[in-house]
């Protein structure tokens, strides 16, 4: 059995929040027969159009939503402890009433508190001056950096990322992508990176999963073996992109 095995036979949204208004049968299937096996240390990009169910899939893996048919198993990376999951949400989701430093300290393990690791990490990400700032005073780019730092500070075995660099300009986004790659290379962890941007997926991923349809299924599962130089070359990326998307149907 692989390290992370995802088997979602079926996932419905039965509009539970509006239970008294919507009829009970008004439930829409979001995911169907999504089977995905990931080995420890892989960098997997999940590519699909907005609203196709990628976030739903991440929430299932994170355990935020347990209401689905199928099962998801995560093996321990280390026998002595539970696997740790870091989640970078689509919005930075920093607690605005806590300072940047406190936002990081809140997710840290008791044995990490007092080691100053959060300060070091923020400094490594160019945020040393923002330790005591409140998130409301940060730019979006900085907030996204803090959100990434918060996910990394717990030293995750599995890092879930939901369009983490969306609505940033290209130079900031690529800077953050480089930062992410640096951390992924420095410390082994599995990354599930959700995006609707195929160029971003090819730049980052070793493996690209294309999701589409309603309910969404896995359309393609491609290994992308590129050298670091190739990843930086827009023309090369463009050709790989055409190759991958040539017969996958939807525009991505």
């Amino acid at each position: 059995m692989s390290w992370l095995s995802i088997q979602v036979a079926q996932k419905h949204y039965n509009a539970k929040a509006d239970a008294d208004r919507a009829a009970p049968e008004a439930s829409t299937a979001v995911l169907k027969d999504v089977t995905l096996n990931v080995e420890y240390g892989e960098f997997v990009c999940i590519l699909g159009a907005s609203g196709c169910g990628k976030t739903t899939l991440l929430n299932l893996v994170a355990g935020l939503d347990k209401n689905f048919e199928g099962h998801i198993a995560l093996r321990a990376a280390n026998e002595r402890r539970e696997p740790r999951i870091g989640y970078v949400f689509q919005s930075p989701a920093l607690l605005p009433w806590r300072s940047v430093g406190e936002n990081l300290r809140l997710v840290m393990r008791p044995d990490q508190i007092g080691t100053g690791i959060e300060r070091e990490l923020l400094a490594e990400m160019g945020l040393e001056g923002s330790y005591d700032a409140f998130p409301g005073d940060l730019s979006l780019g900085m907030s996204r950096r803090v959100a990434l730092a918060r996910a990394l500070v717990i030293e995750p075995d599995l890092l879930l990322m939901d369009e983490p660099f969306v609505s940033l300009d290209e130079s900031k986004a690529s800077e953050l992508r480089r930062l992410l790659m640096r951390f992924w290379k420095a410390r082994p962890m599995t990354v599930l990176f959700v995006t609707h941007d195929s160029r971003e997926a090819i730049q980052l991923g070793q493996r690209i999963i294309v999701m589409a349809g309603s309910p969404a299924t896995i359309q393609r599962d491609e290994m992308v073996m590129l050298t670091p130089q190739q990843r930086k070359d827009p023309l090369y990326i463009e050709s790989v992109r055409r190759q991958i998307l040539s017969n996958s149907g939807p525009q991505l």
Binding site: A19, N59, A62, G63, L64, I85, Y87, F89, S91, A93, L95, P96, W97, R98, S99, L106, V107, F134, P135, G136, D137, I154
Partner: protein, 250 residues
Amino acid sequence: MTGRLVSAANFILSLGLFVLIWQLAAAWAKSPALPFPATVLETFLLASESGELPYHLAVTLARTFVAFLLSMIIGASIGLVMGRSRRVDRFFDSWLILFLNIPALVVIILCYIWFGLTEAAAVLAVSINKIPNVAATMREGARALDRQYMDLAQSYRFGAWKTLRHVILPQLSPFFAASARSGLALVWKIVLVVELLGRSNGVGFQLHLFFQLFDVPSILAYTIAFVAVIQMIEIFIFKPWERHANRWRP
């Protein structure tokens, strides 16, 4: 700094105008039913010196404090549960409406009849009057909790206490402030009624006594003293706390 000076001058002027109108009205009425401000001040000083006013004031404040605390804690807990759970909310909504609409006087009388003319009955009666208001306000707050922060707390395994302290309560602080403000204003007024009906000390009890003696200067002296104390609580406790709770807002 100038802003502070202006607002101080504003306050003194407005208060001065009020005292002036009072003075004129008293001169015009020429009746013991409307004493001069100076007479009230004299009564206030006498009652303070004898220790009578501070004693009754302290007793009433203590009751207000306990009843306030009880109603905030219980009301907030009920409101939180109702705001988070649709089923509980739907089931107990009619109870809340019922309790919101029971007249304060009825609750007080029933508490005294059922539990006797005791301190506990008095405080309980006041709390029961306030709890539904707090619950209704906090329910609104709990309904408005932001989903993304709950997801954050759950995926990073914050646990119940951490989630409450760092995720839920900060979002509820405006609702806390609103219900604490209106709560204090309501609670001390009900405490006076409770004291009038069944206690042998406190400002309410004294007011009852002065009413029987038609002692208007004492009634006004006690009222003004009490209003001043409540105003102090607002300025020195609520306002600083609110500033602290809102320090993160840009």
